[in-house]
Symmetry: C2
Subunit: 366 residues, 2 copies
DNA sequence: CTGAAAGCGCTAACAA
DNA sequence: TTGTTAGCGCTTTCAG
């Protein structure tokens, strides 16, 4: 790390001007082959690495896109680095984990997959991807900082205050994920929550012939939850059923709250023939409660989830669910961003991605 | 997106010099309160967002760290954006998923968790995190591009050719993840693969009293696999057992290859009393094979994995395994980076993180 | 095809 | 405490 070589060093070494060095790197075909090779040799010899900052400043584009998410749960603090370096801790330990059943936070999975899709698509288009996860009340600041270093920002719905978002939008393009709310102002990507739940509900009623249904909803302030309920509701209404008479439990989108909901239903006079849950975690929780009570799924009760997380595929019975293409959400968002970067004047567009109803053992059983 | 305001605009609006604007943003306490407020008002009014590039260029630090990983599996191509915008596709579809059992790629999980840890720790220290996943042969180029835009680079072992890495190291600090190979030259973070496997093996032999053991290894070129085998081997040697006589199967770290290994063992004359696998995926595959054959685990055969992925916690029976703290790997790497940034002359350090042997139903059963 | 020169927007001495 | 003034390293006309 002596002193990073610059265009000047390369130019001097190759006996050309800095403009030529720049050209060789950006538009090689505009430079005579012999010159180009001379420059490339110098680049290699000196170990030249172009400064992203300088390039970004001069070209007025950073070549990076940003992905901003609201925060995860708080995490355990880890030991200080000094301890680790001192090798003070044992290199392994035993844990009696028999009977345990830790819960992974659903939000992480969502983030992971969206990120993966965004990263892939960004890479294919030659962008770097910078990620940030907001914590506490500094969302606006963090987002602003990020906005200063990227060419465009992908933001998960509700992770940044609206006012701040509009401010940022004056500087760089914004694409909002998982929210049609802003659809007038921003490009956005959503999934067919409503349609998916509607289709699943219709299947349960029409194909399985079940009309005695309980619904396990999520938090009131979740747009996803609202959309899903609306899809459920409309399916009932279309069939002349009264949504108001459905046994409704509200959970926190967690497995624990699903288990609670399941317990509640078990304690009631009669179990419904189907329990439709607003997400997989809660569906798995209901499954837990039912399994423990010895109720057979799906013979006695059908259970369904929503999201299509991996765990829903590993439960017994495997959980029927509606899969949302999280990875595609990330990819589509980048595509939208590219479009806007290419044509800043385009009308704000909204992509709604299709979902897949995955019929599995928790509803289709013998 | 009319025209992004700059320090000059803010300065003019607030009636101060650009230096003062800069100060208000960087070291607010060096500016008189009244002035500071005047500037802040202008910042707000104009919607000023500092340019990361300009800042990075002038300060010679970008405030970002990079995380570079080797590529995932190829991904399906998605429809073109135009199709999605045209809303040509149905908003949902049904899939008969009964009996299916898709496999998720273990590597993704690893990446996700390391990333999460790195992001958290970076954020706490005021760094942005830029991620890149290498594909194909362009690893060196991608890494170089990244190196130009960050203050330090975290690189997963073997994701970048050694020669390229050394070149980059002349420009910015490098921290290598999951490899002690480079330990002389770079800061690095590893986990106690050897010790973990050793401890697990010792448990099987000493506590469970099993000496008839089969081993399912991973690919030959995996450093992780080598370390784990070495741990296994040493445990045997210490007890006067001959590793050469162990039934050894080599898999691809995938569930499918584990299932194959299981089938092979089933077809042999006599099943061993324990099958120790070099990772969880293969352990789960072995479990699959045994379950299908009606062999009781752990009563007839004990099965163990390595990694501690979520799926190993959801299988039946739940898989005994050695958990590696992937999230901590990410966090520790950032801590090491910080240390080097603070003191470029420090000796290269290597952190080895402890693992946890998780004893679960696949080994501890009644 | 190549060179000269003018910035890009900000930070950091150094003065005042 | 605040202003002046150099650059930071690169891209990009515009000439030649």
């Amino acid at each position: 790390m002596t002193k990073a070589p610059t265009v000047y060093d390369v130019a001097a070494d190759a006996g050309v001007s800095i403009a030529t060095v720049s050209r060789v790197l950006r538009r090689p075909e505009d430079v005579r082959a012999s010159t180009r090779e001379r420059v490339m040799d110098s680049v290699r010899d000196l170990g030249y690495v172009p400064s992203g900052s300088a390039r970004g400043l001069a070209a007025r584009r950073t070549g990076a896109l940003g992905l901003y998410f609201p925060g995860f749960d708080a995490m355990d603090d880890m030991g200080e680095l000094s301890d680790l370096l001192a090798d003070a801790s044992p290199s392994y330990s035993f844990v009696d984990d028999v009977g345990a059943a830790p819960e992974s936070h659903q939000f992480n999975l969502y983030f992971d997959e969206v990120l993966r899709g965004a990263e892939l698509e960004a890479w294919r288009r030659g962008f770097a991807l910078t990620v940030a996860v907001g914590r506490g009340g500094l969302a606006a600041d963090a987002a602003r900082d990020m906005a200063g270093r990227v060419d465009g920002l992908l933001v998960l719905a509700q992770s940044v205050p609206d006012a701040a978002l509009e401010q940022l939008a004056r500087r760089i393009p914004i694409v909002v994920l998982a929210s049609a709310a802003h659809s007038g102002a921003f490009d956005s990507v959503t999934v067919s929550n409503h349609e998916g739940m509607h289709a699943l509900t219709a299947h349960v009623i029409d194909d399985l012939g079940i009309r005695d249904i309980a619904y396990v909803a999520g938090p009131l302030d979740s747009p996803d939850d609202n959309d899903r309920w609306a899809g459920f509701e409309s399916a009932l209404l279309e069939r002349g059923m009264d949504p108001g008479r459905v046994r409704l439990r509200r959970g926190e989108f967690t497995r624990a709250s699903g288990r609670l909901a399941g317990a509640y239903l078990l304690a009631s006079d009669a179990m419904p023939k189907a329990v439709i849950c607003a997400n997989d975690q809660m569906g798995l929780g209901v499954l837990d409660a039912l399994n423990e009570a010895g109720i057979r799924v799906p013979q006695e009760v059908v259970v369904t989830g929503f999201d299509g997380i991996e765990a829903a595929n590993l439960s017994s019975p495997r959980l029927t669910t509606v899969h949302q293409p999280m990875e595609l959400v990330g990819r589509a968002a980048i595509q939208l961003m590219q479009r806007r970067l290419d044509d800043p004047e385009a009308e704000p567009a909204s992509i709604r991605l299709p979902v897949k109803v995955l019929l599995r053992e928790s509803s289709e059983g013998s």
